[in-house]
């Protein structure tokens, strides 16, 4: 699923890995593909409600392998629609239940309210995380996960508790697109560092030039909701 430029997250991970001196192999996984034998990092995007329905069966058939990878500490970034389906379920407005794969202790309920606009999140791990949200499903976190952070601007997981996203093992789940990683290099480098350390034991960072990212962040932070 890639409705909000989520492809940008994959592009940023691959390009930054190169800038850090590594040679990444980017595999695209679509419905019905063979699941790759070896995976170091997983990134997934959001879709419309109709897109979520289309990937549902395929995702459920991958439940076991994804759970094993998650529990083993594989870094993953799941955005919006895939965040919802990584949780226990998505109960739509009309009461039908789309089952998730339950890696994250979260549940999502469809609402008539659409949460749309620029978002700033204060994250204890990654500092200020900037992005854009557009969702009508509202997610609440269970005790098994922590939020990614608290919203300084925007709504986040739901319209009541001021929390955004979820953190579990090396998974980062979030409603933010924008795309998320280009303007949040600290988050991108967490995923990269975790993946590289798991594969090679150590991570030797390069020196990516983040000056445009810094300026893009400053301007994004000042834009209206």
């Amino acid at each position: 699923m890639n409705i909000y430029g989520d492809w940008g997250n994959a592009l940023v991970l691959a390009q930054r890995l190169r800038w850090h001196g590594y040679a990444p192999e980017l595999l695209e996984y679509n419905v019905g593909d063979d699941f790759p034998a070896h995976v170091d990092l997983i990134v997934g995007g959001g879709g419309q409600d109709s897109g979520q329905v289309v990937i549902q069966d395929d995702l459920l058939s991958r439940e076991t392998v994804l759970k094993e990878l998650a529990e083993d500490g594989t870094p993953m970034l799941v955005i919006c629609g895939l965040y919802q389906l990584f949780g226990k379920f998505f109960k739509t407005r009309t009461g039908s239940v789309i089952p998730g794969i339950g890696i994250l202790d979260v549940e999502t309920h469809g609402t008539d309210e659409r949460l749309i606009g620029n978002v700033a999140v204060s994250s204890p791990e990654f500092g200020t995380v900037l992005g854009y949200e557009n969702h009508s499903g509202q997610t609440t976190l269970g005790p098994g996960v922590a939020p990614l952070g608290t919203t300084a601007k925007g709504t986040g997981n739901n319209s009541s508790d001021g929390q955004e996203g979820a953190r579990y093992r090396n998974i980062v789940a979030s409603y933010l697109h924008g795309s998320l990683l280009p303007k949040n290099p600290a988050l991108a480098d967490f995923l990269i560092k975790t993946a590289v350390e798991r594969k090679y034991g150590t991570f030797v960072p390069g020196t990516p030039d983040d000056s445009y990212a810094v300026l893009a962040r400053e301007h994004a932070a000042r834009r209206p909701r």
Partner: protein
């Protein structure tokens, strides 16, 4: 009330023009004091009302339909200001009606924003509608593109005569299935289409990142199209209709504009066909060849004796087509990205455009409120960047100064385009749309 509303509305229109702005205010005034004004006035037109909607290409397509119909001797009322809201239509009407509220026209061709079209067609059911596409535009207003498709479906449902649909956009083509059949009082459905060889130049949103087997809504079996675009050349194009292929010179550039010419031909043929006196085909093609782009849409101006082209980009498909239609070689390039309400506040779409075609020459100047988002995007595609300045006037001046001996091209979002035109009008002649 009836006799006062028109003169009063005209007066407000005059005053607000003297003040130099507010094209919609007089429309608001007349709507308030005489809610039936628009419906009453438009219902007098012998060939009725045609609504043009969709996420992309409304302005140029509407302009084409108007010029095609005028070539057939029809008097056409249209909302030329690009004020595509209901009260914008009312305001435009005030400029055209006489003091007793009579409109001297055969047909109205109106460009309507997807969301506002719904309100409009509830008040004034159109005889014709032309639905262009559902691209990932303005999701910050509509949430999901499926929602945008529902808005277009509502326009079609209210149409009494003929619905013209884009055969190649699955979300638009499927609207036909939701309509009452023509035999049971539903509208007639016509399609415009593309030759298979051109399909790959029009990726829809679902296909931007989709490999085979990805979640793309299934397309219905292809219906017969009334007009098919068969080929696009450097300055000509082939259209097929009535069982024959015609080649015509085109002033318009950009494959998406020329595809919309097929849409305009379909609608214009439907309207003139209904008139009874037939269609002057030679006149229609001559008019089509001479259509110039609407302001900012592939428009070419002259600065320092060399062309400066403005290419409006609003969503990933449009930007991709813009890059494909206007090759970078030989041109100095500027990109201006704003995120005001009319542009859409969400910047994620920039990540679904590939900028590798700009890699060889680089981009000379970036500007707009989100210039640094654009810079970051180009950095990740290894495209060299000359300068970045969020101030559009300063950036434009620097760009023109720095590329004095080169033809120039500016890719810009909607409000950035307006700002650039304002600045350019100080140094060159820019088409005035009144």
């Amino acid at each position: 009330m009836l006799y006062f509303s028109v003169p009063l509305g005209k007066l407000v229109r005059r005053v607000s023009r003297l003040r130099g702005g507010g094209s919609a205010l007089p429309g608001l005034v007349v709507e308030k004091i005489d809610p039936g004004f628009m419906q009453r006035t438009l219902s007098t037109l012998p060939l009725g009302v045609a609504v043009v909607s969709g996420t992309n290409g409304k302005t140029t397509t509407t302009k084409m339909v108007v010029e095609l119909l005028e070539s057939q001797g029809l008097k056409v009322f249209t909302n030329r200001t690009g004020s595509n809201f209901t009260r914008g239509v009312a305001a435009a009407l005030l400029g055209e009606v006489d003091w007793r509220g009579r409109l001297d026209a055969d047909v109205a061709v109106l460009e309507l924003d997807e969301a506002h079209a719904v309100h409009f067609v509830n008040k004034v059911p159109p005889r014709y509608c032309l639905l262009l596409n559902v691209l990932r535009d303005q999701l910050d207003r509509f949430g999901e593109i499926d929602k945008t498709a529902e808005l277009l479906q509502h326009i079609a449902a209210k149409t009494t005569g003929t619905v013209v649909l884009n055969r190649e956009d699955p979300r638009v083509a499927r609207i036909a299935d939701t309509l009452e059949p023509a035999a049971v009082n539903g509208p007639e459905v016509l399609y415009f289409g593309l030759d298979d060889s051109l399909l790959s130049t029009f990726p829809n949103d679902d296909e931007l990142r989709a490999a085979p087997g990805s979640p793309v809504p299934p397309a219905p079996a292809k219906p017969q199209a009334d007009v098919v675009l068969r080929r696009v050349g450097a300055d000509d194009a082939d259209f097929e209709y009535d069982g024959a292929t015609v080649t015509t010179h085109m002033l318009l550039r950009g494959v998406y504009n020329i595809f919309n010419a097929a849409a305009a031909l379909t609608l214009a043929r439907a309207i003139t066909g209904a008139r009874g006196s037939g269609t002057d085909h030679a006149g229609l093609l001559a008019a089509l060849a001479n259509v110039a782009p609407a302001f900012g849409r592939g428009e070419s101006l002259v600065v320092d004796g060399l062309p400066l082209e403005l290419v409006l980009v609003k969503n990933p498909s449009g930007f991709r087509l813009g890059l494909k239609s206007f090759p970078a070689a030989g041109y100095a390039t500027m990109i201006a990205i704003n995120d005001n309400y009319a542009d859409g506040r969400d910047m994620s779409w920039l990540w679904d455009v590939e900028f590798d075609t700009l890699r060889e020459g680089g981009v000379d100047q970036l500007t707009g409120s989100r210039a640094y988002d654009m810079a970051l995007r180009l950095q990740y595609d290894d495209v060299a960047i000359g300068a970045v300045d969020t101030d559009i006037a300063a950036a434009l001046a620097a760009f023109i100064r720095g590329a004095k001996d080169q033809p120039k091209r500016i890719f810009c979002t909607y409000t950035a385009m307006l700002a650039i035109r304002r600045e350019l009008s100080k140094i060159t002649t820019v088409e005035v749309v009144s």
